[in-house]
Symmetry: C2
Subunit: 377 residues, 2 copies
């Protein structure tokens, strides 16, 4: 347990709170957003650039790394931190989401999930016990328990079955944890869009006394209204004294809401994936750098942003790079988006600290949604 | 003329020399190697990374930039330096090489070369006068006169015709130069593989009194022995007091030879293009990072290299990135190669300064060719 220490600081009405998460590879001020580096790289960005953008912690994926280059290789190369050249905290997702997203290549039964590699057809059996072993051998700060993420969260029968199996798997996970490990394992709550299922699942998971808890199985295709309704209800079901992680979300507007309800950790592919496609986040909404109206514009992507892309280059240049398919365009646009998300998290933490979160959320939403003429909407 | 000042420092037997090239955007210690940034970007690398790798000056291409985004756009975005975010010296090639390399899309007559854009079919007429105008509007430190690069440098008739037209075009170039321009234009010597043609061409070009001279039309498919024979002869035909630029070369072994003969400036796509393909330069030869033997190797690409890739990452990690097609692999391998070339140029300058060039060249060649077991050959 001593590998993770979490202290809750200021709280605001509605549930939002500041926290300090101490991990073997560093301290994370929460709420915190983790860029996604599935294969051990946040696409196109060096660890130095990530650090410069204010990133505190990154996410990788135990399943993908186990396939390639293999956990043995990562271990021989000094563990995941030295492997990636990132000396800060790292969290790995377990592969539970891949059971869902790669469903055509997976057979699931009570024992676990048998993957046929989408790369070379090789088979890999993931079980709750195997996943913990992979994560510990990778040497991550936080690993996730192996869970069942259902494809139809609105199907009560599927949601109930998924939550029940998740609970059984999480019990098996708990049984193999060693207290002295530097890797802390978080349990994942499931239950689809059904609050009673989620409550029941959470209560049983809490009895297992994990050092942190996540909400899984959301943002998998259901409408945003359902997502956010369940997200708000779910966070209150998880222990107040432990870090609460919303998996795989979200947009800037999502984060502003979720932080107001008391989530502490987030990850999402949006900043890097959208960056590669030339879709940029700004305080006044998103813009597509490929839009012709940016071609001759000599101002920055976003006024006031301190990222390397905004400090050093015009929108016109970034438009040129994107239109030419130049790698540097993908790099700089990813860098801006990653920095935008980190600036947003800083602003969220500042608003929580100053106990002015409602006003911050209202102002942010108004500015982001209405735009100021600098946005494509 | 005052926009460019060139001072020759130490000289060694064989013709090699140190120099200092003062340009509007900075001082270049020569011999110097320019990475290629055809479209206004050295692929995948930020200006900060280039600077960190020791790059003094970069090359772009006036023809390509005139097509996309257009010289008007670059000018509206503050000129090429602000456009690229590179505040050091920039040289642009003229498009003469593109007449050769895009021959299927070009009609050449005495007036100039009519390109059909390979992007959208739009037509663009390049003439000696147009090229100078483009380069001056881009605002480069050094522009190249529009020349004729022949496809068969060993065909005497073609080489003679090409050199003669190059001379006529260079006279037209000279006629439109303004003394007060911050852009210095270099003339390009042609003449294929024929030393008498090159001598005749050089003598006529020298009469036109350009601030610098280049050797063009080599390394276009002829054998290396021919290339190097002509290169060695050609440099001695150009003014000793002016910068002498070998265009489009070369390998590390080429550079070591060329610097020994008195060339001052170089450009080549090799470091960045090979880097993107995972082919790495080291003092003991090249290696392919995709080779399976690197998969579990936790040492750096090259012992003793101070680049971000070598300092921060193992060969095993770079192998993983390359095998996964990860953008960061292309970035880091390009960065290493660009840094390798800059370290090589530093070593060359140090050997020239210490008057131990022959020993340096012999040792470098032996180590590079024989390898030390760290190389794929």
């Amino acid at each position: 347990m001593s590998a993770l220490q979490f202290d809750v600081g200021s709280r605001v009405r509605g549930g939002g709170r500041l926290g300090t998460l101490r991990l073997p590879h560093g301290v994370v001020e929460t709420p915190a957003f983790m860029p996604v580096g599935t294969y051990g790289t946040v696409k196109g960005l060096t660890p130095r650039q990530l650090r410069g953008a204010g990133v505190q912690m990154v996410l990788a994926n135990a399943y993908h790394l186990a396939l390639r280059p293999g956990v043995e290789t990562v271990a021989r190369l000094g563990g995941i931190h030295r492997f990636m050249g990132w000396d800060g905290p790292i969290l790995t997702d377990s592969g539970g989401f891949q059971v869902f997203s790669l469903a055509d290549h997976v057979k699931v039964d009570e024992e676990g999930a048998l993957f046929r590699s989408h790369i070379d057809g090789a088979k890999m059996l993931l079980t709750p016990e195997v996943v913990v072993d992979l994560e510990m051998r990778l040497g991550v700060d936080i690993g996730m328990a192996f869970d069942v993420c259902v494809a139809e969260p609105g199907d009560r029968r599927a949601a109930a079955d998924g939550a029940a199996r998740t609970l059984r798997w999480t019990r098996r996970t708990r049984a193999v944890l060693r207290e002295e490990s530097p890797t802390s394992i978080f349990a994942i709550q499931q239950g689809g869009l059904f609050e009673d299922l989620r409550r029941e699942n959470a209560e049983a998971l809490i009895e297992l006394d994990f050092p942190g808890y996540a909400v899984g199985g959301l943002s998998v295709g259901e409408g945003r209204e359902d997502t956010m309704r369940v997200a708000e209800a779910a966070v209150a079901m998880l222990p107040d004294a432990k870090p609460r992680y919303m998996m795989g979300m979200g947009t800037p507007l999502d984060l502003v809401d979720l932080c107001g309800w008391g989530y502490d950790l987030f990850d999402c592919v949006l900043p890097s994936r959208n960056g590669r496609n030339g879709s940029l986040f700004t305080a006044t909404g998103t813009l597509s750098i490929r839009n012709a109206r940016h071609a001759d514009f000599d101002g920055p992507l976003e006024e006031g942003c301190d990222c390397e892309a905004c400090i050093g280059f015009s929108r016109g240049y970034l438009h040129h790079l994107a239109k030419r398919g130049e790698m540097l365009g993908a790099v700089l646009c990813s860098l801006h988006n990653v920095r935008f998300y980190q600036r947003l998290m800083s602003e969220i933490r500042a608003a929580l600290a100053a106990d002015r979160y409602d006003a911050f959320r209202r102002d942010f939403r108004a500015r982001y949604q209405e735009g100021s003429g600098g946005s494509d909407g």
